[in-house]
């Protein structure tokens, strides 16, 4: 190590202090739906919960598992088309539970493949239509055109959101959801509407990988704050060091599509 080494950890709030409480984060189908670094979202939630002075507990739900009680945040990722086929029956069996959680305001983040399946349906380009669970008023149509590249969007709620899209499904929003943001670089939900992602209650849905949460800590903190307020009535934030997130955002914003 060189002498200018600086500690990269900043968790003084969590050490030597009693925890403000436990926040349980459930990863949906990490076995099949974890492509493109979606683990990064779970890791960021785990670490930031700690940095805010709470105790994180990371849980997994895979096909056929018992669905855990008392879940505070749900995260789900993208997958190959083959992964979507593997989980679809199990997801339908959990649809009522997940819908009730979403309707009651549980914070959730669903990316790419699970964004599509949280919608009404995904009509694949090769023929079969995969039914969604209809939490989000969106429909997805598979195409032969792949939307790939860096994305930047503006959101009144979260400021500039940035990440990387890679999808051939094109998603159309219905009146029951709001877009997550307005795209200033890249495509977004589809190649014509100029918006990206969807918002319903405390559900955040997006096509963006990157992973999404590391460079967009505002979204991570929204999920944590919402979870804490629902569980404890109040959220007492810590002060995570977001200097590297800020610098990574500045550099990422200058990169080509």
């Amino acid at each position: 190590m060189t002498s200018e080494t600086q500690p990269a950890t900043q968790s003084p709030q969590s050490e030597g202090q009693s925890s403000k409480g436990t926040i349980r984060v459930l990863q949906l189908y990490p076995r099949e739906m974890n492509i493109y670094g979606d683990w990064g979202n779970a890791l960021v939630l785990k670490q930031r919960i700690k940095w805010h002075g709470y105790t994180p507990e990371l849980l997994e739900y895979n096909v056929g598992d018992d669905f855990p009680d008392d879940v505070d945040i749900i995260v789900g990722g993208g997958g190959q088309d083959s992964g979507q086929l593997v989980i679809q029956d199990d997801l339908q069996a959990r649809a009522d539970q997940l819908r009730e959680l979403a309707d009651n305001g549980a914070p959730m983040l669903v990316i790419c493949g699970l964004y599509q399946l949280f919608g009404k349906f995904f009509k694949t380009s090769t023929g079969p239509t995969i039914p969604g669970i209809g939490i989000l008023d969106v429909e997805t149509q598979g195409t032969d055109e792949r939307l790939i590249g860096n994305v930047i969007m503006k959101s009144a709620e979260f400021g500039d959101i940035m990440g990387y899209e890679n999808h051939s499904g094109q998603t159309t929003l219905g009146p029951g959801v709001q877009p997550l943001g307005t795209v200033t670089k890249g495509a977004g939900n589809n190649s014509k509407d100029g918006h990206e992602g969807a918002r319903y209650n405390n559900v955040v849905a997006s096509y963006l990988h990157g992973s999404l949460l590391p460079k967009n800590p505002a979204i991570a903190d929204f999920l944590i704050r919402t979870a804490a307020e629902r569980k404890f009535g109040t959220f007492v934030p810590g002060s995570p060091d977001d200097d590297y997130a800020r610098l990574a955002r500045e550099h990422a914003a200058r990169r080509p599509r």
Partner: protein
């Protein structure tokens, strides 16, 4: 046509060499004026064509196959690294054929990028193919890894004699099923290269990234798709053990131990792949096993793949990392202890623009010693990644020239290791040549 196109192509090649130009342009010229040049030339080879493809390790593996076959007295034509597409092959051929268009070789061993290989095999069905792996690599170019697997499947389906498959990669091993559904006329033989059970846990595949790798407790092997029970087929060559300087390979029911110049367990696994393809090519003919084993031990890594250079009297290792599996294997194969470490991450087209892959690599093994310098266009993405894994780091300097100076000045007297993406590796080699005498040791 014949008497005209080849001399013209060679002339264009010479001219474009003189102006320091691209390697594929003469290939384009000959393709335009004599579209069947490549097929005709390759069809004349007594042992035909073997294609090496997959997302990782093509260059080193191709180099190994060439050297193994040469140890058995064969004359081998191969395409130079960086021209692993059809036009590049045509350009390389132009450099080797005589003025009448004849190629003095017994066999062509061609490294082909998986997307380009599909076009190539449609023009020239290979006699042999070796399919290494399908890792999450450059997804922004091909979309999804299942699609990449289909590209490899297409190569296999066009192969006439023998397809050599990685038994441990589920997406590659599954190709055997497709081949077996082809009609008998187009039914190549399938053989596998494999890993000893004790080594499988060091090769997590992409489906197991979040489940810790290795065989799952339920007894399904790494070759099983989710929910798919599988009996492992027998492998033609099995890598049994990897030591610090040597390795054990099993074939023909015997275990052979050899010293290895190659470093990194994934490189040595590719040696098993090369051995299996070599055995397929040599077929039932006589094999000089001592010479073959010696050639295996002597293979040096290809450019930038686990290379060791000397800087200020200390070793400096360049470890190319292109995707999460490669980075994880790199961290496992080259323990951090005693080394100063730098990580260089670019996001140019050849590296892949999406930074998601860094989040599929666990960096805990660097926590104790920390990382001295982070560099590259995406140095701050790497810093952010290490922050979330509680790995301490020193200087963050996106400029590779400045970062390299800081790294070398700050770690005098220590062996050094740089994990780098493809284009950052090229930049680092250029800079190393400027600031110190770069002596290549293999």
């Amino acid at each position: 046509m014949l008497s005209f196109s080849v001399p013209l192509g060679k002339l264009v090649r010479t001219l474009s060499r003189l102006r320091g130009g691209g390697s594929a342009f003469p290939g384009l010229v000959v393709e335009k004026i004599d579209p069947r040049f490549m097929q005709r030339t390759l069809a004349s080879l007594p042992h035909g064509v073997a294609v090496v493809s997959g997302t990782n390790g093509k260059t080193t593996t191709t180099k190994m196959v060439v050297e193994l076959l040469e140890s058995q007295g064969l004359k081998v034509f191969t395409n130079r690294s960086g021209s692993n597409f059809t036009r590049g092959v045509a350009a390389s051929l132009l450099g080797e054929v005589d003025w009448r268009g004849r190629l003095d070789a017994d066999i062509a061993i061609l490294e082909l990028d998986e997307a380009h290989a599909v076009h190539f095999v449609n023009k020239v069905p290979p006699r042999y193919s070796l399919l290494l792996n399908v890792l999450r690599d450059q997804l922004d170019r091909f979309g999804e890894i299942d699609k990449t697997a289909r590209l490899l499947e297409h190569i296999a389906s066009k192969t006439t004699d023998t397809v050599v498959l990685n038994r441990e990669d589920p997406r590659v091993a599954r190709i055997a099923k497709t081949i077996n559904t082809l009609d008998a006329v187009h039914h190549p033989e399938v053989r596998y290269f494999g890993l000893d059970e004790s080594l499988r846990s060091t090769f997590p595949n992409d489906d197991e990234m979040r489940t810790g790798g290795g065989p799952s407790p339920s007894g399904t092997s790494v070759a099983a798709a989710p929910g798919e029970a599988v009996d492992l087929p027998d492998a033609d060559v099995v890598l049994r053990r990897v030591g610090a300087q040597d390795a054990d390979f099993e074939f023909d029911g015997k275990t052979v131990t050899t010293t290895m110049k190659l470093r990194g367990v994934y490189n040595i696994f590719n040696a098993a792949a090369a051995l299996s393809l070599t055995r397929a090519v040599l077929g039932t003919g006589p094999i000089d096993t001592p010479k073959l084993v010696k050639a295996l031990g002597d293979v040096a890594p290809a450019f930038g793949r686990g290379e060791s250079l000397t800087v200020d009297g200390q070793p400096l290792e360049l470890v190319l990392v292109k995707n999460p599996s490669g980075f994880r294997l790199g961290l496992k194969s080259f323990p951090a202890g005693g080394y100063a470490t730098m990580i260089a991450i670019n996001d140019n087209y050849a590296d892949g623009r999406d930074m998601s892959w860094l989040w599929d690599v666990e960096f805990e093994s660097l926590r104790e010693g920390g990382v001295d310098v982070l560099t590259g266009v995406r140095a701050y993405d790497m810093a952010l990644r290490l922050q979330y894994d509680d790995v301490p780091f020193g200087t963050v300097e996106p400029d590779i020239t400045a970062a390299l100076r800081t790294f070398i000045d700050g770690s005098r007297g220590k062996p050094k290791r740089i994990f780098c993406t493809y284009t950052s590796m090229l930049a680092i080699r250029r800079e190393l040549a400027k600031i110190t005498i770069v002596e290549v040791v293999s």
